[in-house]
Symmetry: C2
Amino acid sequence: MATTDQQLHTYERDAELRARAASVLPGGMYGHQSAARLPDGFPQFFARGEGSHIWDVDGNEYIDYMCSYGPIVLGHRHPSVERAVAAQAADGDCFNAPTERIVELAELMTGLIGHGDWAWFAKNGSDATRFALQVARAHTGKNTAIRGEHAYHGWGSTWMGAATGMTPSATDFQLTYTYNDLESVRAAAVEAGDDLAAVVVSAVEYDASGSWTAPDQAFVRGVRDLCDATGAVLVLDDVRAGFRLDLGGSWASYGVEPDISAYCKAIANGYPLSAVVAKRELEEAASRFFATGSYWFSGVAMAASIATITTLQETDGVAQIKRAGTMLREGLNLQAQSHGIAIKQAGPVQVPSVRFVGDDLAKMDIPRAMMFTGEAAKRGVYLHPTHNWFLSAAHRDEDIEHTLAVTDVAFARVKEAFGDA
Amino acid sequence: MATTDQQLHTYERDAELRARAASVLPGGMYGHQSAARLPDGFPQFFARGEGSHIWDVDGNEYIDYMCSYGPIVLGHRHPSVERAVAAQAADGDCFNAPTERIVELAELMTGLIGHGDWAWFAKNGSDATRFALQVARAHTGKNTAIRGEHAYHGWGSTWMGAATGMTPSATDFQLTYTYNDLESVRAAAVEAGDDLAAVVVSAVEYDASGSWTAPDQAFVRGVRDLCDATGAVLVLDDVRAGFRLDLGGSWASYGVEPDISAYCKAIANGYPLSAVVAKRELEEAASRFFATGSYWFSGVAMAASIATITTLQETDGVAQIKRAGTMLREGLNLQAQSHGIAIKQAGPVQVPSVRFVGDDLAKMDIPRAMMFTGEAAKRGVYLHPTHNWFLSAAHRDEDIEHTLAVTDVAFARVKEAFGDA
């Protein structure tokens, strides 16, 4: 990997593919993996991955701090996961009914997660968050859900009321609160009155304005108490942080269990799977309606999930991720200080957020982050200018050291361009 | 496989797993793959598949006429597909951006499907139908969609208004018509007035009452003309029939192109993928909103899809499927006649529907179908009592012959129990 300007990446093949994509994909690329809003230096197409490293279609190598926006928790092509996948795939994947893996995985997850008495599996994180809300409504016989103001719980009409192409009624029966502001939750609950079905919380604050903070104890305890008092179902969206913060659930360390949790991303090291786990008292409601998908019962992704979770357990993977994240955070802080650049780091170190104080993320006025991450990408370090990053158990000390050598150059560029941030 | 009562299947391992599943899965199993409403003889858990044959966890072998409810179009573990999957998986699957496969697959599909100028990919069939409707609404700036009365377009609040746990507003802005009844479509369009965004059609009629019929030419032509006259978007749900009836789209043989189509199931021979293809004029609308998922850009399922579609092209797979389906249909008709049992076969032979005239599917009073399919399952032929069946290109003449030997016994049992149907 390059650290000097003589060895900067080039992107010929990527440019050719972008040109072809422009003809056959809407807007050239869609969704969160579109590189259109990323700075130069970020490729649109990847070719391969191994551990903490990824290679784009031009053969440029990167240390990967997005981990496919979360799914890669053990590193790309982790041997234990690949072995389990190969064994299952040799027999088959998608049948007229599930394989034994669904029972094994449900037993594993319910054994691990305090509030998990039963489990349910699908393909998208948004399948899981939607199902959890449907269970809450079926269980309570009520409709109103209260949720974080700008929280992202997945694509689709269940969550995205104001989006283009949605009907005006898409998010009827939803009220909002401000994360970490218990009074705002209480006020929304009062407004819901006797129609309160669910309080929906993200494991860590994540909203469109870029705020990314772990919850405080009073907030976590308070929403639990409010649900206990009102009979509302406490729905934890653990899609983004699940299996990176705590194998028992991201709020377990607070001593608080939700009633139902939604999982995706890190659950199967990149194989397509999402899940819901919940308390026994919600099972009857979950059994009362039909929710299904063509590939929801397939064995390979479940075999991958069993191997992923077991490996995380056996190797204390969360501690490894935390160690790498801590080393990165401390290194960046020292570096920013020495360059005289004001940054703000937030969120758990396993899913960190790094902001330049001079930027305004809410207004998407982020020239420093764009320059910093673009300069890093060109030198083989894949960060992201706006989204939180993801660490994996595959990040070694030498990865972090090499990364810091690159970010030192990137900070210097920011300093040259913007002076005192 | 068994055809005599001395060799009937046993299901010990399946029973053990069902007992474990009862503790950790809602209702013991959920969704379309729950065996709870199937007769004895249907296992809840499968272990392996090869070509047109599948084996359950007790080692019982079946000729598979459900093909995983559609996805398996070339047969289980088809060598061309498995080779493409292995090659892609050796490099990796899920990255921070797509692989080249997304461009290749979009080029392949848009080259094959008349109205396909661009393509979009997700994981569930319902992702594709929901996205198509969102595109239609974004393009027209209108809200109302008209759809088949009891049509199934996937799980979730976009389509399932009256379902348990859904809010009263879930399917606001939807009106219904009766399939193959053009006047009812016109009446709904009049009711929609100047708010008509989309006419949503299934490739073949499929509704909850079990009706399953190919559309007639006047209906297909008529909905196209109505959309042309009103500016509504014609949305074809080709999830269930796509790539089994016609590689150019299931309405291509009618000389009619929809504006946008949703695909899933047969698109990747069991690997998790869904897709939308549409006309150029809808691209701008599709580029104007955010729709995404954690695994939507993964390379393995796209590699599987390229291999699946290419193999279907190169081997004239549709003709093979049709040949096997025709042989089965004709054999069953002769057999039913010779037993003096009245059956009604409907739908294209690739996705056939078989009903006993004495049963009432709308009321789920179906003792003949339950006995028939249960007796067949115990003897190694996996049919379904209520759902349409699916043939694949792996079904050989000897499969159909063996199947007919088994169904002969099953028809005899029905005759013994119910006399003249």
